[in-house]
């Protein structure tokens, strides 16, 4: 099986879906001639032409709205935000238009659109370029929110997102684009709304998504070797709708849980995970569920401060030990 980068996995997904359905087009800043700000759309302009790979001026609200309009009349736009930080400019179109038109029209007009781009912190990009805003969108009925952590998940989920027929917020990561993983050559999709157990274990459950998955896996390794604790790592993959069944099954087995996420603590996706588990798996919990989140501050520039602000394996291990009642 070939090993490719997360970036190339997305590229393949876009290419395959644009071949499969002529209604699919990509629109955003630098997606065409520049080959993509993060090279995700490399080669697509040459292959599909300027009506299907559309470079825009810096006008997020404008081109997000254009995407919505095109979707309303039957096209399948993929709107790229250079980062999700900038999507705040377009949030009116995502939340007030895309998410609501099907409902307001009494079911007449679907909006099959994918908004995609990298989210969350990278390295020393500063406060305005480092936000993990998935919970803002996961809050909104009418949207689906997807955050793949691996190349395999990225390709399969993007293909599903494009075909889904609903407005989808698709969160990638600058620091994920270069990561590598095995991706099969044939046609495959991954259903939205399904979490994935990335590592099995019987002693505790680590719930994570996007860049936190690597953090959780690293913590799990250390927990096994140094503390003889076998952690099960559950990658949410889709944040709305949440795959509560998989989460509950894991906690039924392990009886304890730590939720890891990059976003800020108040109202983060992890808070919803905790609520679902305390309701659905109350009698299986041997300890309160703990969360490891991004620090409740705007992201600082300094390297060490930034590292301290991000959820790292050390904090995950500390939380894991607490839920397992291990001293020290």
């Amino acid at each position: 099986m070939p090993t490719i980068t997360y970036r190339d996995a997305l590229n393949q997904a876009l290419r395959e879906e644009m071949h499969r359905d002529p209604a699919v087009f990509l629109m955003g800043e630098e997606v065409g001639v520049y080959q993509g700000a993060y090279k995700v759309s490399r080669g697509l302009l040459e292959e599909f032409g300027p009506m299907r790979v559309v470079d825009t001026p810096i006008a997020e609200l404008g081109f997000a709205g254009i995407g919505v309009g095109a979707a309303m009349v039957g096209m399948r736009p993929v709107i790229e935000f250079m980062t999700w930080n900038f999507a705040l400019l377009a949030i009116d179109q995502v939340v007030n238009s895309a998410a609501k038109i099907l409902y307001m029209s009494g079911g007449q007009i679907p909006v099959p659109i994918v908004f995609r781009g990298p989210g969350g912190p990278a390295l020393q990009l500063g406060a305005q370029h480092s936000q993990a805003l998935e919970s803002w969108f996961a809050h909104v009925p009418g949207l689906k929110v997807v955050a793949p952590a691996t190349p395999y998940d990225a390709k399969g989920l993007l293909k599903s997102a494009i075909r889904d027929g609903n407005p989808i917020v698709f969160l990638e990561g600058e620091m994920l684009y270069n990561t590598k993983g095995e991706v099969p050559e044939g046609e495959y999709t991954i259903p939205l709304g399904s979490a994935d157990v990335k590592r099995e274990g019987a002693d505790l459950t680590l719930v994570c998504h996007s860049k936190s998955v690597a953090v959780a896996l690293k913590a799990a390794e250390q927990l096994q070797h140094e503390h003889d604790l076998a952690a099960e790592v559950v990658d949410l993959r889709t944040l709305r709708p949440l795959d509560v069944a998989t989460l509950v099954a894991s906690v039924r087995k392990t009886n304890r849980c730590v939720v890891v996420e990059e976003g800020w603590p108040l109202g983060g996706v992890g808070a919803q995970v905790v609520d679902e588990l305390q309701r659905e798996a109350f009698d299986d919990l041997d300890a309160p569920i703990l969360r490891v989140t991004g620090a409740d501050v705007p992201m600082p520039y300094n390297k060490h401060l930034e590292r301290a602000a991000k959820p790292g394996p050390d904090r995950v291990i500390e939380a894991a030990k607490r839920v397992a009642y291990r001293e020290g």
């Binding site: 009886n255 109350f282 009698d283 299986d284 919990l285 041997d286 300890a287 009642y325």
Partner: protein, 393 residues
Amino acid sequence: MATRVVMEALSPTMEEGRIARWLKKEGDAVTTGDILAEVETDKAIMELQARGEGVLRKIVVPEGGTTPVGNVVAVIAGADEDVSSAFDTTAPAAKAPAAPRPAGPPAAPVVPVVPVGRVRASPLARRLASEKGLDLQVIHGSGPGGRIVKRDLATAAPVSPAGLGGGEGWEDVPLTQIRKTIARRLGQSLGPVPHFFLTAEIDMERCAEAREALNALGEGRVSFNDIVIKVVAMALLQHRECNAWWQDDHIRYFNEVHLGMAVAVDDGLITPVIRQAHRKSLRQIAEEAVALADRARTRRLTPDEYTGATFSISNLGMLGIDEFTAVINPPEAAILAIGAVTPKPVAADGAVTVRRRMRVTMSCDHRVIDGATGARFLQTVKRMLENPLAILW
């Protein structure tokens, strides 16, 4: 429709019950409200009522059998009804195991509510304990704040089944409910509660004379115990610091006195409570003490007759004990152990004379009562007993 008769929570602290006697047999007709059986709880013998009507088709737990609260003990149904599915003997998991009452609040939880204080346990530990028939009250919690967690259950022994074995030179006797309760409650006393003990010898000559005079009036009889109860109650009004409950993060001081008096019963000990002892006359106390002791021995006390004491007294004087130390009933802060009233040679006014004396030992919870505090209380008790009119002062 079949009615499952389940073991009901007939006392606030009950977790299982033993069928002492079935009053109906299989095949008997039964209407709602009929007494089906006598159930031995951790405190007393209670009556199990029928909550449905029909025929008592099947007795699931026989006389002498013990089962956790919530489990099926019998089935009432129509004479010809198929009841094969009603024999499921286990209570639904993760639900309160008490039977539904016809009206009123939802069923009582498994974990006892008063007076010991809330048990801290993780939801998982609660569920597993309930499923395995383990008593959370006797399990030590290793989690924060004494929380009982899953690993603490691994070492806990399950509740013993009815009837064990015997062998050459020995016999295993299953614990009755009352013995289990005593073990559990007092096992949580001497260990965790920091006891210290104060002993005083009291001159009972005047008290004895007063008592004889009162009894000679022929209007009733008062015992030394009754007098001690009244004296202790009045003394506690002056020493509120000794009339208290330890409540983990605070102390409750009572302005009223509800005295527990230990009564020996068949198989152990129970402490019925004389409520408002400070307000009652000696006659009332005497009459109540007799009545309570009687009901205690026949196991007919109701839950609020044996809970809620603010202070307890234990008297082994009638069994010839000179003095002894009693174990505090948590969450009370103290208990007074009374020895026999015996004539003794004592020094008085430079000469040796024989007077009736009594030794009392007060066990105190050092978290609530200090040595001097306890001593001052005992001084008052002594003063009142040695000068009976001081009770009225």
